[in-house]
Amino acid sequence: MKTLVAMSGGVDSSVAAALMVEAGHDVIGATLKLWQGPDGEAPTAGCCTVSDAEDARRVAAQLEIPYYVFDYTDDFRTGVVDPFIDSYLSGRTPNPCVECNRTVKFSRLLDQAADLGCDLLVTGHYARVRQEATGWKLLRGIDPHKDQSYVLYMLGQTELARVRFPIGDMTKAETRSIAEQLGLRTATKKESQDICFVGVGDYRSFLDSQTDEARRSGIIVDRDGVRLGSHDGVARFTVGQRKGLGVSLGEARYVTSIDSTSATVVLGKREDLLASGAHLGRVSWVAGPPPRPGRVEVKIRYNCPSVPALLDPDGPTCTLLFEEPQASVAPGQAGVIYRGEELLGGGTILSAAQ
């Protein structure tokens, strides 16, 4: 089948491309240029660097597949970066990878793949797609340490019919060893962990560089409204944060909520963070219609195991009641719902249920 492989220049997508070639598909490789500096130059750190594109190009040459770079900087700006900034300014904690998958990779790129006559779009995500009698299923990647299904929860039946993740059946170690066997130059390339467009430095300095609003000062209070100090921008805080609060109280304090309208950051004790559940909005279900209410597992942030919960879907929203109260339910993050290996769907966390 004619296949478009999104190649970032990393080992995972390199191996994904190699496996598709090996399986006899007619493969085209493409790198997305998502971000650029103020003068249109490619970044030198983070991702989308010239050297990443060069790695992808060289791997494509080695695999003898045509290779192109697509300029998605406008779509990425409006679909990912602007909402990222807005989200932090409103006191939420965004997940830009989810938005990129939603608005760029599995919408714009998927459309473009069709325009190029490709039947399939392949990426190097650690997740699995399986066709069953009841439809397309999205499953966790085999490697529990690398499973990336969390950032793919927005995929539905139309997308899954046209998307493949060839390395979802492998562990990271297996991926690397295939890359080494094939002599791919990306075999030992180090993992990218950072937010790709933030580059060097943390997201706070990125926000500062994008908008003055990120520095709008406000106050820090305790849960009774007693003033504890001041801060220079709600965007510097995320629910559950303990370090860098700028106030010292003798014992550990955590951000329990953020009110962007009054620019107020509320601190509490660890137990104040605990939430009995979460409300999700902008919900999307893999199967199309929502699953029946009942026992599920939910993952409320990327680097955190899924926990048992009771699901109650309600149109474009749903409520999850945790079996055990959970700390750090941060509005803006994705809440992703599983039943065993199967990803059922997910949404954006609107609020914690106390």
């Binding site: 790198t31 240029k33 490619a42 190009r57 045509p66 192109y68 300029d71 473009q112 190029l116 006559g117």
Partner: protein
């Protein structure tokens, strides 16, 4: 060129017989090419390509004599000129970039207005490398000198040389850049014509080759190859214009029939014969390029950035074309072997490859 690739080890600046042989070849190449441009051999400075020639013209003139001279150029120039202008601007040279009309043409009146007593160099390209529009260089040169008689007028003739009659007197310029690979010569070699009397600060400092204007060991093989290619180009030009013109005519006629809403981005009466630059309304060029590549048609969109992504062209932006429209533009170029049948076949392939995107 071949003998100098095979056994041309000698440095043309040496004093032994092998070096003399290399030096002779170099000077013969210089004479040959000077003759073709209507220049004196000593007015030819060999460079490592068109970009270096443009840099030497702009930065060299602006910084000559330790001054911070003014630069006037156009918004549709090649990056080699625009970036050189930005470079000297950072060093304190006043730089003015004049706009263009819908067709990418520079207005002589805009040049007269931009040139002042501080201006030392005015640079407008002979023909645009993207759209193929031919600028009225002689008129622009007159306008510049009317505003300030001491300015040096530079033109980047890299794109034009293969098909346009380009001599320094016809264009009335003081400096002119050429790049060998654009007319069948080797890559990585070019030249800057510098009219006698024009003062330049060198960009490359060192052993003082090229009368101190460009240091560095000579690329003898490249210079010889460039001169041979230039000679062949000039002798072949009339045929080139006729056959390529006919091929393009057939190509465009067929293309227009297939895509009736096609929009041309260069003026029909002032464009290079080897260019077709068009907008396919509603068709994104990124997708079109990949499809065409797969079908065996090599087209291009604006210029490729370092990562290889097609970016919105500064040329089209300067012409007032919106970013969305610019993303629907494609350029097709025709080389010396192109025949009428090739043009028609390409148009037919484009039609079948792109028609469902309309």
């Amino acid at each position: 060129m071949e003998p100098y690739a095979r056994d041309g080890f000698a440095n043309s600046s040496g004093s032994h017989s092998e070096a003399r042989r290399a030096k002779n070849a170099l000077e013969e190449a210089r004479e040959q090419i000077a003759h073709l441009l209507g220049a004196h051999p000593l007015e030819i400075v060999f460079t490592g390509g068109g970009t270096e020639a443009d840099n030497l013209a702009i930065a060299g003139a602006a910084l000559a004599g330790g001054e911070r001279g003014g630069v006037v150029t156009s918004a549709v120039e090649h990056e080699a000129v625009l970036e050189s202008a930005r470079f000297v601007s950072r060093l304190g040279c006043p730089v003015r970039v004049v706009g263009v009309d819908r067709w990418g043409l520079v207005d002589p009146a805009a040049i007269s207005e931009a040139v002042d007593e501080r201006t030392v160099v005015v640079s407008v390209m002979t023909a645009n490398n993207e759209t193929g529009v031919i600028e009225p260089i002689a008129k622009l040169a007159d306008a510049a000198r009317a505003a300030n008689p001491s300015v040096a007028v530079h033109t980047d003739a890299v794109q034009a040389f293969i098909s346009e009659e380009v001599t320094v007197d016809l264009l009335r310029v003081d400096m002119m850049s050429l790049a060998a690979h654009k007319f069948g010569g080797p890559k990585g070699v070019g030249l800057l014509y510098v009219r006698e009397g024009v003062q330049l600060e060198p960009v490359l400092h060192g052993g003082g080759q090229e009368l101190g204007r460009r240091s560095g060991t000579h690329n003898v093989m490249g210079a010889v190859g460039m001169a041979a290619a230039a000679q062949a180009t000039v002798e072949d030009r009339r045929r080139f214009v006729e056959t390529v013109g006919a091929a393009r005519e057939g190509f465009e006629t067929r293309l227009r029939k297939a895509f009736p809403d096609l929009e041309f981005n260069a003026p029909v009466d002032a464009r290079l014969v080897q260019h077709t630059h068009v907008r396919f309304p509603g068709i994104r060029n990124e997708t079109a390029l990949v499809r065409l590549d797969q079908a065996g048609v090599a087209a291009s969109a604006a210029s490729a950035c370092q990562s290889g992504a097609a970016t919105v062209s500064h040329v089209l932006t300067a012409m007032g074309i919106s970013a969305d429209d610019a993303r629907q533009c494609l350029r097709f170029s025709f080389g010396w072997p192109t025949r009428v049948a090739d043009g028609e076949m390409a148009a037919a392939l484009i039609e079948t490859t792109l028609e469902d995107l309309r």
